[in-house]
Subunit: 154 residues, 2 copies
DNA sequence: GTATCATACGTGACGTATCACGTATAATGT
DNA sequence: ACATTATACGTGATACGTCACGTATGATAC
């Protein structure tokens, strides 16, 4: 009977359903605001923020994907879309013929510069200011514990 | 200066990034296990669980979507896919010519019956058992606060 | 009765995210 | 040197989720 699956309690189900709900509602809300204000998507923002944070504005694809916590091919596809939009460009890697760099363009820098204030204001409104500092820290610890379980079960 | 957007602190950014990571990693992990074990998707499971929980195994589309916390057209598309797979069927509503019911089929009941144990075991492993009872309750409260902010900002 | 407004819901277009697969290059072993 | 293994990463296929739009039906006002 050790391994027999058990149905969730009512309370456990409630928390579980809320978590699932969050996985679609949160990105959707942010995407809607971003689309209205700037034409960017949340994925565009993540990539642009990541690239503008590194010294020469470029990163190797696989390492960058790891840093974002994304699947490699998710980044490849996203970069392809962003390249078509002129937000990033791919650059050959001189040292390693296998791979390439993703580099932010001037248009990309400009786009994220314009989009960031309103986007961050909404992130504040929805998440940061919804909780006390203690609670935000606590949320981070709890979500971190779940992410560790996910990583361990891969 | 009241409305000026502010950059997130390092700690706030960390929690924010973890939340974003969770929105893709959690469904992806559950989907992978479900696909391997049963060929169902997490969305299939949500619909089937929802339908097997109501008395005659059927529900009106708009109300059911609301209950799941889904966009209406998300459910319509999902039902179309599940109908093709024989998991549910649409039934005419006798009292209201505008709408229809989604009803679970025998195959659907069987599929969710087979898939549920392993799926719930993974939900337990990743979420429920990753936290103490107190922490799980706390997570629910914190996520609930964020969901309220999202609902309020729509 | 008719017109207008409201509601239910399905569909198309599109962007997104994962998985499988394949190609090109680098590293390693012999 | 050559063969084998490993790595980097791009692409296609598919399922998914949102938004816009449209049709059909019901409710309401006159």
């Amino acid at each position: 009977m050790d391994d027999s699956p058990q149905w969730l309690t009512v309370e456990q189900q409630r928390v579980w359903r809320e978590l699932l709900r969050l996985t679609t509602r949160l990105p959707a809300r942010l995407n809607r605001q971003l689309e209205e204000d700037s034409g960017l998507s949340l994925a565009d923002v993540d990539v642009l923020v990541g690239l503008t944070d590194v010294p020469d504005g470029r990163a190797r694809v696989t390492e960058f994907a790891r840093g974002l916590g994304w699947e490699r091919s998710r980044l490849s596809h996203q970069v392809a879309r962003m390249e078509r939009a002129g937000l990033v460009r791919r650059e050959v890697c001189e040292d390693d013929g296998r791979g390439s760099y993703v580099a932010v363009t001037d248009a990309g820098r400009s786009a994220i510069g314009s989009a960031a204030p309103a986007h961050l204001a909404l992130v504040r409104d929805l998440v940061v200011d919804a909780l006390s500092d203690d609670d935000l820290g606590r949320l981070g610890v709890l979500v971190g514990a779940v992410l560790e379980r996910i990583a361990a079960s891969d």
